[in-house]
Amino acid sequence: MHSKSKPFNGSVRRRFLQNLLAIPAAVMLANASLPAYADSANSTGLAVTDKTVKVGILHSVTGTMAISETGSVQAEKLAIEQINAMGGVLGRKIEFIQEDGASDWPTFAEKSKKLLINDKVAAVFGCWTSASRKAVLPIFEQYNGMLYYPTFYEGLEQSPNVIYTGQEATQQILAGIDWVVKEKGAKSFFLLGSDYIWPRTSNKIARKHIDKLGLKVSGEEYYPLGHTQFNSVINKIKLKKPDVIFASVVGGSNVAFYKQLKAAGIDMTKEKPLVLTISVTEDEILGIGGENIEGAYASMKYFQSLTNDNNKNFVKAFKERWGKDIVIGDVTQAAYLGPWLWKAAVEKAGSFDIDKVRAASPGIELKTAPEGYVRVHENHHLWSKTRIGNAQADGQYKIVYETKDLIEPDPFPAGYK
Amino acid sequence: MLETNKSIPQKEFVLSIEGLTVSFDGFKAVNDLSLYVEEQEIRVIIGPNGAGKTTVLDLICGRTKATEGSIKFKGTELTRLNEHQIVHAGVGRKFQNPSIYEDLTVFENLELSFPRGRNVWGALTFRRDTEVVAKVKEIADMIFLGDKLDMNADLLSHGQKQWLEIGMLLIQDPELLMLDEPVAGMSVSERKQTAELLQRITKDRSVLVIEHDMQFVADIADRVTVLHQGQVLSEGSMERVQSDPKVIEVYLGH
């Protein structure tokens, strides 16, 4: 059924028809013909043979989210290829089955069910938006799957069936705000975001922290997803004269916002006001244009310009695999961690069994992570450093600050429990 | 004009239009028009193109809302009612171009016009009982379509479509029947049949007709009203109107 992993030959059309006709039958056959292994490496009937292990990749390659999720797919494929080149996991080569979530949450749920029930994959690397994760979460919990979720997100969640390889909101936000307060003397903040759960939760965390520091929030605004006209809010910002614009605008709105901000005469390099974003990675700058966001600061755990050896190798491999002009953002790197963290957990457990992998996960370290070093916390999030990058005209961030220690993930910060 | 009004016997008017005006973006299509129709009268409205004939019918049946003036039908003010309420009050209207349901059969066309089950619930629970069938057959015979009940209406000839539409009005038994050019596009024999039909069906109702065919007008009209530029130019019997110098001027000058 998954002929796409093989190259097409001349009879694509016939093959396709056969595929279509074969679906119901193949489903039943697939169930029946699964290898009935019951050794210790696979005691629960996952799609593991002596030579291979199947995993799923579940992202949107069509629809509005394809813009963001493409990088994650590329990173996960690269990691899988590298692991296979090193001999695979427990001696098995990884085969991946890619499904398209089509930027539609029910489709994510449907495809995750397919991956878990029909394909019996040993792990799934996927999802990007919180909504897609929320849609698949009950399915992963019900059918006991393992999801490696790459995006920085709002927290307020901790599932035994998910490893969160991106940062939760407090990791990302608190360090960033502390830094602008300490280094730039910021006293007032304007919070601006797209209208959905991540910016709203992030801004709540930010507001609480700003209040705690005794500083002022001079405005908080949300615009619908996909909004393209920001002149009014830019005028409001000009009126309120905040020291910092704390921006969590996402998607196509990002491009509109920064272009219009620049056109309105706000030169971000003058830092009056200073723009601190938690949503613009190098991927987004590609669409915005480096010259339009030059001078803004971003607070996240990874930038492509990191100079450690791990990252140099990673960037080199990534460009060799996907083209020299490609850029790598925070989420792409986090997605790259997924297969590696899974491999480490499987090898520690000595088994592909989900329960054993889960039990083995906390404490797993990755010393080869491009971002430096990460460790899995008891709560399934990663200990990681947070960095502040200053956007350059060439579309890269110059790293101006890095937290000294790894920051502990705290998905349920006080007041949100 | 005064003279005409005086000549009207003191009978009760079925329809009395007073001071009726409608303007489309400043253009007064009907201007301060007054018109009275008696019971069982066949009144024909004639006039050159653009005189406002069709607009008057539109105003009576509620298709166009009047800017000013009143239209009273048996004491009911029509300008405040919706189209279907006007129909319920007893006014029927035939359009210039035959307006029938071409997808449906002749039977169904007539059945849909049968005045029962006119609200949502009624339409859902409507049954084709013997009363309906009998009435449909009766009307169909009257409009010369008794043998075409199962034919799809789009297969009828132009004249037959005109009859069908008249039949759809008759089945509702309106007290005022308004016909916009009922014989347009008909053959000579069809015209004759139509004239007979009209004579027959007007026994117990009033009829308001717009027509261009003067011979036909002469055949059927009790009285004739001539409209010009949205106003009544002349009114009276056919002979009288034909000899009115104002009318002659308008028609010749046109």
Binding site: D100, A102, E110, A131, K134, I197 | L112, N119, L124, D154
Partner: protein, 395 residues
Amino acid sequence: MTKIKDFIGRYQLSHLLILAVILLVVMPLAMDIFRLNLVGKYLTYAFVALGLVLCWGYGGILSLGQGVFFGLGGYCMAMFLKLEASSPEHTAIQSTPGIPDFMDWNQLTALPWFWEPFHSFGFTLLAVVLVPALFAFIIGVAMFKRRVSGVYFAIITQAIAAILTILIIGQQGYTGGVNGITDLRTLNGWDIRTDSAKYILYFINAFLLIGCLIAARYIIKSKLGRLLVAMREREDRVRFSGYDVSSFKIFIYCVAAVFSAIGGAMFTLQVGFMSPSFVGIVPSIEMVIFCAVGGRLSILGAVYGTLLVNWAKTSFSESFPELWLFAMGALFIGVVMAFPNGLAGLYQTYVEPRLQRFRKPAPVASQSQVVSLEAGKTATTTNSADKEYSHAGNQ
């Protein structure tokens, strides 16, 4: 029984029976629970497509906002299930136990008033039907009494869908925001996530769909159905035959809304969550496409069309994940251009004449009626097209 036979002529009954057998016997036997659950999900869209056959195919009212009603029905059901899943024991770790988790995240400390009634299952079932019906009624009265129609109505419903989406996403403390209402588990203590529950829900769904089909059939066969056809042709004539045209449009629009809402509620039950992505414009247009593929004048076509498109979508996206949009786009264009009457039209043109030869001649009365109705169908499209065209020219 005889009564049902009256309005479903024997001829149509056989088609409905075939569909019932496919849904209730063939599908459950041929598929594992995963695929069957998938079919169940698709069938919930068929409710919407069926509603569209009535209001678009017959009533001539193209709504590009049917997702609104699907969503409203789904949300009503989801609210009940979410409250059940948010019992104080399950939500003990929250700062306010007993309210849904997303409310807690948004620092709500009490259940909003409009959530309270959804503790009752009876109220929920009523709300699933009545809330969308009321909403449709309000839109219908506002639009049809003012004689908004055609393209204008389509665009306005689109705007309404956009408004509701923004509202739901923006009021996340009350609605769950963009994530929707997720993680639904039990219905009156019955775990809806188990395989057996999915089987039962599938059958409930299929029975409800067949029920809606019968209801739709009844409406079409009644005088109201003929009036709808007549209205599409000659709205003025219907009006001047003494009918309040707007009340019929409002009625059929409400029926379509209720069908959609039932589909939405069944979706929530079978899939386990509801999200604002259904309320938006894209799914609403997709559902119009399902209806068009099936044949906009065929209620059974709506079901087959929905199944076909979704099955194609799933297959395409599994076989060629990055190319399925090409195929879908081509399908839409192809159906509209080459088969404006959809699958039903194809069936009537090519399959039926052949079947007819093997069929015993049916009783004369019912057959003539069928024939005339079908002739009517084809005529309907061409004639109404002419009329719409002249309309467009006048605008």
